[in-house]
């Protein structure tokens, strides 16, 4: 009986997308069952590639009718197992919806489909001397998925999260209904802003594909000033580095202001843990700043020099430092094929990467990191940690990139255990994980205000009455 139902569903999917774009073949499903994270592999029941909005609508209508989970997928590189189907269902691969619909070089925004990759957009934007806040991830991954999941990139110090750069969206709701948010909701070809209307875009951002399928997105893009200057310093502890980053951050002159621990500055991250050489600084920082003119660059340098002098006067361990060249390239030449291939992170460990990736107030970075260090070293893992200011100084990213040997179940579990322990420390210090795997979601929910959870569930119920979208990923 069951087999029959499955056949019927496949037939319906085939009738929507054509026989070459829907399958239940095990080998195809298997290739979507795992990613690079510690999340346990699980198979979808079907894989479907959509190429039009109408197809997406029809797939969701079918799934909603038959209460079949649907997992939106573009490249699956989120590092959180977010596209691993918790409860099977339809894996909806959107990579073939990959048109750059428009680049408005005058008003500085682009309209893209979900399958548009960083590499593809970088090539097209460059023709207009424009850029996006490229993440340090695979160039083949999706721009819109990154933005939807509150991704961060090389301009986050200046413009904030990539989700803050979304200007409009077209979304298919779990019921199959087509909706729009932002200016494109009022006039079809107007994609410039989500404001000043009620911010309905929030119904889809940070939801990890659990509230609908975005089929078009407007994103703000920015000009590329010609002169790059990178300020590099080192300190012996994160306390001193935080003091510097907050001080420099006040001036808002950096596109990216990032500190990395010695272990993250190594290419690749040492696996298993090995101590840093005696005397080597524990923290490095690079502040990438772009200028239009030489004078502007000199003014930026003056500010930086003043900050450095002030920090030195405080008696901290700060020093000018040469940032390792390969690691610096990986941060400034984005999108990067080299770092995107995960070489900088997991080449030594093999196969696996996960992270406790969090948004954490700057004044909590050091205490959390010091505890993380203990936990990670205890698990023989390098504390390869990154801190980054987001638009100003009050908070930013605190994240440890943890490579592990995915071939070994034991080493994978060791990494998972350490990462979840780290996460608890951060949550208890007031941080919040991003792109959270289900293990993290459970920890968030444990600590959440009941009113928050109740509202979240109500909104989810409203949008997705049959709980079909990426079922289980919110941890309830």
């Amino acid at each position: 009986m069951l087999a029959k139902r499955e056949d019927m569903i496949l037939d319906e999917l085939v009738s929507i997308v054509g026989k070459d774009n829907a399958t239940a073949a095990k080998h195809i499903r298997y290739a979507y069952s795992y990613d690079l994270s510690f999340v346990t592999p699980k198979l979808p029941d079907y894989v479907v590639m959509a190429t039009t909005v109408e197809q997406v609508q029809n797939i969701l209508k079918l799934a909603n009718r038959d209460k079949i989970p649907v997992v939106p997928y573009t490249a699956g590189s989120n590092i959180g197992g977010l596209c691993i189907p918790e409860q099977g269902g339809i894996l909806l691969d959107l990579k073939r919806m990959n048109k750059i619909i428009r680049i408005d070089a005058e008003s500085h925004y682009a309209i893209i489909e979900p399958g548009v990759s960083h590499a593809q957009l970088a090539m097209e934007l460059y023709k207009h001397n424009l850029r996006w806040s490229w993440p340090v991830g695979p160039p083949s991954a999706s721009v819109s998925s990154n933005a939807l999941c509150h991704g961060i990139g090389g301009l986050s110090g200046r413009y904030g999260l990539n989700s803050e750069e979304i200007t409009s969206m077209e979304v298919v709701l779990p019921t199959g209904e087509l909706v729009r948010v932002g200016s494109c909701a009022i006039r079809e070809d107007s994609w410039h802003s989500v404001l000043p209307m009620p911010q309905l875009d929030g119904l889809f951002k940070g939801w990890l594909g659990t509230s609908g399928v975005v089929t078009k997105m407007g994103v703000r893009v920015h000009p590329i000033p010609p002169i790059l200057k990178v300020f590099t310093v080192s300190t012996h502890n994160l306390e001193d580095m935080t003091s510097y980053m907050v001080n420099l951050g006040n001036y808002e002159i950096c596109d990216d202001l990032t500190g990395v621990s010695w272990w993250l500055s190594q290419v690749p991250i040492p696996y298993p843990y090995r101590p840093k050489p005696d005397g080597a600084p524990e923290w490095y920082c690079f502040g990438a700043t772009y200028s239009w003119t030489k004078k502007e660059k000199e003014a930026r340098e003056e500010i930086w020099q003043n900050v450095l002098d002030e920090e030195k006067k405080k008696g901290t361990s700060i020093q000018y430092a040469d940032y390792p060249e390969e690691a610096l390239k990986a941060r400034t030449q984005l999108p990067s094929r080299i770092v995107g291939s995960t070489k900088n992170y997991t080449k030594m460990a093999g196969g696996g990467i996960s992270w406790p990736g969090t948004f954490t107030p700057a004044n909590k970075w050091a205490p959390v990191y010091n505890k993380w260090k203990e936990i990670l070293i205890d698990h023989k893992l390098s504390p390869a940690t990154r801190v980054t200011n987001y638009r100003g100084v009050h908070y930013g990213m605190l994240r440890a990139m943890i490579p592990f040997n995915k071939q070994s179940a034991e080493e994978t579990e060791n990494a998972r255990h350490a990462i979840v322990e780290c996460l608890k420390v951060d949550l208890d210090a007031g941080g919040i994980p991003y792109k959270p795997p289900v293990d993290f979601a459970a920890e968030i929910n444990k600590r959440a205000h009941p009113g928050y959870l109740s509202l979240l569930k109500q909104v989810k119920q409203l949008l997705d009455p049959n709980d079909i979208m990426n079922t289980g990923k919110l941890g309830f």
Binding site: H27, M49, S117, M123, P139, M348
Partner: protein, 440 residues
């Protein structure tokens, strides 16, 4: 003769180095300006992640090894829908990078060993190899058909079995049996004669290099012909004074250079013998001033890098004993054997030639779409791939495309015909033959 041909099981540890990051799915360089393009013909056509680049192929390999994937017709089909072009390999930076084509072919070898592979149409190749010593079901005597014009013109080509010569011109089965590609050996031999090179051919005694068998996973058949060829090379070196083996076929070139070295006897047998692609030999002569152009060719052309003379010849540096990084680490690569500049140099030197590049070139060249057994297994798809490459060539404004592989020659011309394009694929030797006259 012992062969060091790896099994899938032996590659298990290495294929767990893949992170499934998906970097291999597209060709991308930072630049600036940034360059981006499709690189995987299989992924471009079939779309699902399993078809996509090394990411997908490694997923299949993992599934087969961990017992989750059993042989089905569909799985087999997916494994053979890959041109083994190594475009994906070029994008990856992890320790399994040097082994990516190996992983794909090891899966195929396993399928053959398990009695399921290759694809039904490809089984004909294996049968033909056994019956005719070539993949084209061509009777022995047909191998010599292309030499008829030479006989007619009373310029016979030396039979190396009978007369000594410094150079063995190893023609390859595609040039000999595939009618549209016959221009390649004809032009090669014509050029060699004009240049006064002392060369001979094996004629009816030539047998397949084994490339096609190896690419479709039939290691036994590959070994059979490779061993026989190695013995022949040794005999010709010792008895006929052959010091150089030259071939115009990218597949043969790759096989002899990269697959034959897997034999325990390779160094012993091939010591003192140079293996060289025709175009490199000609370019050397050009640089030494021994090849002079006598005519002009006012053509606007672009150049297609065959996978087998390009990235397939990349040498990978691996830390074998752990002294540099760690045991088994991929350290770097060396492209000195890759024929990227050589054909471009001599092509651009032809008087009258206007040369323009396509977007995806050199290590990021887009496969003609026919390799890895795809032309036999999936003829329509092979031609469709080739049409895409032709379209890319047309975008440059070139009239014709030039390459150095009879296989690409055939497939790209098929691709051109399929879309009704005026663009033709010529082998570089066919151009050179037109601008180098008989010595007076």
């Amino acid at each position: 003769m012992e062969w060091n041909i790896t099994t899938l099981e032996e590659l298990e540890d290495i294929l767990w180095r893949c992170t499934a990051c998906g970097n291999c799915k597209a060709a991308y360089n930072y630049g600036p300006p940034p360059e981006f393009g499709e690189i995987c013909p299989a992924g471009a056509e079939f779309g699902f992640e399993g078809f996509m680049a090394s990411k997908g192929k490694i997923a299949f390999a993992r599934g087969i090894l961990d017992g989750q994937l059993e042989w089905t017709d569909e799985l087999l089909d997916a494994i053979y829908k890959c041109t083994v072009c190594a475009g994906c390999q070029n994008q990856c930076e992890l320790d399994h990078k040097p082994f990516i084509p190996e992983i794909i072919e090891a899966m195929r070898r396993k399928s053959v060993k398990d009695g399921v592979g290759p694809m039904p149409t490809q089984k004909k190749i294996a049968q033909s190899m056994r019956s005719y010593n070539n993949p084209y079901q061509g009777p022995r005597r047909v191998r010599m058909d292309w030499t008829r014009p030479f006989k007619k013109a009373k310029k016979p080509i030396k039979d190396i079995n009978k007369e000594p010569a410094d150079i063995l011109y190893y023609v390859g089965c595609t040039g000999a049996f595939n009618l549209p590609a016959r221009g390649v050996p004809v032009a090669t031999a014509s050029l060699f004669q004009k240049l006064g090179l002392d060369f001979g051919i094996l004629g009816e005694d030539e047998i397949c290099c084994g490339s096609t068998a190896m690419r479709i996973g039939d290691a036994d058949e590959f070994k059979r012909v490779a061993e026989s060829n190695l013995e022949t090379f040794k005999r010709l070196h010792e008895e006929r004074g052959v010091n150089t083996i030259v071939t115009s076929c990218a597949g043969c070139y790759r096989a002899i250079k990269k697959d034959y070295v897997l034999s325990s006897e390779y160094d012993k047998i091939m010591g003192g013998i140079t293996v060289i692609h025709t175009v490199e030999l000609l370019n050397n002569l050009f640089k030494e001033g021994k090849l002079k152009f006598t005519g002009e060719l006012p053509w606007k052309v672009t150049y297609h890098d065959p996978c087998h003379t390009g990235r397939h010849l990349t040498k990978f540096v691996i830390d074998k004993d752990g002294s540099q990084l760690w045991k088994g680490a991929y350290v770097g690569l060396n492209e000195e054997d890759c024929l990227y500049d050589v054909p471009r140099e001599i092509l651009q030197a032809i008087p009258g030639i206007e040369f323009t590049e396509m977007e995806r070139i050199r290590d990021n060249s887009y496969c003609c779409g026919g390799g890895g057994g795809v032309m036999t297994g999936y003829g329509d798809w092979a031609a469709k791939n080739a049409s895409k490459r032709i379209e890319e060539g047309m975008k440059t404004g070139a009239e014709h495309m030039v390459s150095i592989c009879p296989f690409c020659h055939y497939n790209l011309n098929e691709g051109s015909r399929r879309i009704g394009s005026e663009m033709k694929l010529y082998d570089l030797v066919e151009l050179l033959d037109q601008v180098i006259a008989e010595p007076k």
